[in-house]
Amino acid sequence: MELWNAITSLSPPASKFYDEMFEGTQVRAHYEKVQAILSRLSIDERAARQRQMNRRLLEEGITFTLSQPGQSEALERTIPFDLVPRIIPGAEWETIERGVSQRVRALNAFVKDVYHEQHIFQDGLIPRRMVLGNRYFRGEMMRLSVPGGAYVTASGIDLIRDEKGDYFVLEDNLRSPSGFSYIFKGRSIMTHDFPELYFSHAVRGIDRTLDAFRSSLRAMAQTDKSDPVIALLTPGSFNSAYFEHAFLAQQMGTELVEGRDLVCEDHKIYIRSSRRKRRVDVLYRRIDDDFLDPLAFRPDSMLGVAGLMNAYRFGNIAIANAPGTGVADDKAIYTFVPDMIRYYLNETPILSNVPTYLMSRPEEREYVLQRLDEMVVKETSLSGGYGMLIGPSSTEGERAAFAQKIIADPDNYIAQPTIKLSTAPVCVDGRLVSRHIDLRVFALMNGQRVHVLPGGLTRVAMKEGSLVVNSSQGGGCKDTWVLA
């Protein structure tokens, strides 16, 4: 790509990864216009645009806070936004959309089954202990009927592409996935700060997703009121994702509340007020189950509302996502999702899983321990890029330490062969360089219908060669275009 920077008509050399823009030395057809427009700009011009975009992120406070040990004050950081869009051709998207929708329906059916009849254990597809012993299993949810049967109202499914360009599901996020706001802000930045690029393509709009989101929440209200009160529960302005919470509340016109703003009376939840209090019908919560209700879960939680779970059990309030959905996005349960699709929907899985070894199975554990340097090992219940071993870039000492942890608590770990994330060009100081990316696709369930946001959040591992795209680990993002 150095050459491509120097003489912009030339293409970069082929690599062992699937590249989104190049096939060998050829620019892929759906990237031709982008390539042409970008190569007309000088390095300085590209750098200037990139700076302008990042300045706007800062000015609009599109930040997340990162507290690091040994640092007294949390840093407000922007997520690096890249000016080269990620483009998905319409036909390719159609498969993703169907695949994600199918997956979310199956996962929702699974959660419902776990908290009701538990057919899937009785039929021997998934060992009962894997679910009931899971730290995200909530006994409180047993036999509780949930409005519209929607447990996973909002979900984010992470996709990657292997060296052939085939899509695989890497992870399901069913608790409170983050990233909606970056998609909308990224799109707004592209249309304002690079209009000639954006408007030279017919890109599918994303604004209707906010409508769909609001409708999904509204549909959960257990009331005849013509204007049910929807509130977004945030941990507060010090939370790392506060920008996202404020953004969603404002864009959907819902109330933004903290736990201390809510009060439970007579098994109903109200927003406190110096004047008239308002009853909340739907709570879209962005705090973990553990903190929702100090009476039901962690007694030391200052973020939740005492009495919320009782109000929920009485059917006086709907909660999205439902408590206890974490059992389905566990990294060990993940292995069974294709089976769930066949079991609950009687369909063939459209999107495949990345091959995954369960450390609780002795023969798979043996296999993995022998080749830790080729594997990525993850703790089943952690996310955000924490608690991982990336074999190829690890030291012998790290591998030995991790092997000990696996042997000590095999249930807690899974392993996957080192994934070959696809690459895409990224603008760094005006030069185009190659970086690994993934794609988080967002889905919204409304009753049994699933709306998939066209595109999603393309996350970029900004460090050269790195495979970690999480924003907490220095990842960036791109605007993602689905061509109409």
Partner: protein
């Protein structure tokens, strides 16, 4: 409205207004220097006295000089009432409740704050202090203008505007107190000084248009206290404050005696100003009038905290 949201909105109004008043004052005082008598040191001391806290200044700096004073009043992030701290406070309050006001307002204020924070005193002085303060006024005017232009006229707006007007009323009273002090110190008030005071509130031309012949301390005080058509008079500020509270009261379901009392107090102070005759305002009576207005302002601030904000929370001005 939630207590904490009401409180934040009120302080957004107060701090943006306070920042604007600071910028106006510093700008005018700064450019008044040429006309001043006496050593430079004294001039800078007077500027600090008019806007900031003399003892806080003297704790930090051994002598009065241009660079230190401008830094202290404008860009010193560790100084409780400096301009950049007022803007930071407004921004922090807006950050906590940014879904309550149009996002354009957040973008403006946050961008403005980031710019101000990145400014450097030496560069400001080396460049053009007047242009710098002009930009500050414009930044704050953009914020207020956008609010007027697009914000929903709901409780949130009324709460923010009530904070703005209470702050304005208090600032004008304090400005007049510093005029009074100055006159006492120097024995008289110079023409240039009074003109600067009027200009600092953008009122010089209005003053002239009303056909007031004599530019005296008494006339200027009467104008800034009781001129009901001038938006930066105490009379106007208290009237707007009271109007916004009446709007809040109209939307309330339960009648609030506390809220009624605030409205009555503000209206009483305003109508007293309305009844003032020009001869009532002279060098001797002015001090008492200002003292009383300051007490009323403080009383209104405390009552707002009691009625609207979290009970038991300490209120800092």
């Amino acid at each position: 409205m939630l207590d904490r949201i009401a409180e934040s909105l009120f302080w957004i109004g107060r701090y943006t207004e306070r920042a604007e008043n600071h910028a106006r004052l510093i700008d005018v005082y700064y450019h008044l220097r040429e006309d001043e008598q006496g050593p430079d040191e004294q001039v800078w001391r007077r500027i600090v006295g008019a806007i900031g806290d003399i003892s806080a200044y003297e704790e930090k700096h051994a002598a009065y000089g241009e660079r230190d004073v401008i830094h202290f009043l404008t860009l010193d992030a560790t100084q409780a009432n400096s301009l950049v701290v007022c803007v930071a406070q407004a921004r922090d309050n807006l950050r906590k409740i940014r879904d309550r006001l149009p996002s354009e307002l957040w973008n403006l204020l946050n961008g403005f704050y980031l710019w101000l924070k990145s400014c450097d005193t030496a560069e400001v002085l080396g460049d053009s202090p007047h242009r710098f303060y002009q930009r500050i006024k414009e930044g704050l005017a953009a914020f207020q203008g956008t609010a007027v232009s697009i914000a929903l006229r709901d409780d949130a707006y009324s709460m923010m505007e009530s904070g703005r007007h209470l702050e304005r009323s208090e600032n004008i009273v304090r400005l007049l107190q510093s005029v009074l002090r100055y006159t006492a110190e120097t024995g008289s008030s110079s023409y240039a000084y009074l003109m600067a005071v009027l200009k600092s509130v953008g009122g010089y031309e209005a003053f002239r248009r009303l056909g007031i012949e004599e530019l005296s301390m008494e006339e200027v005080a009467a104008f800034l206290l009781a001129q009901e058509q001038f938006p930066r008079s105490v009379h106007y500020a208290l009237a707007s404050f009271s109007d916004h509270l009446k709007t809040l009261r109209a939307g309330a379901s339960r009648s609030g005696s506390g809220l009624d009392r605030i409205v009555r107090t503000a209206d009483k102070a305003r109508s007293e100003l309305g009844w003032l005759e020009r001869p009532d305002i002279n060098a001797e009576s002015l001090d008492a009038v200002l003292q009383q207005l300051l007490a009323t302002n403080r009383q209104l601030g405390e009552a707002m905290a009691k009625v609207f904000f979290s009970p038991g929370r300490e209120v800092t001005a």
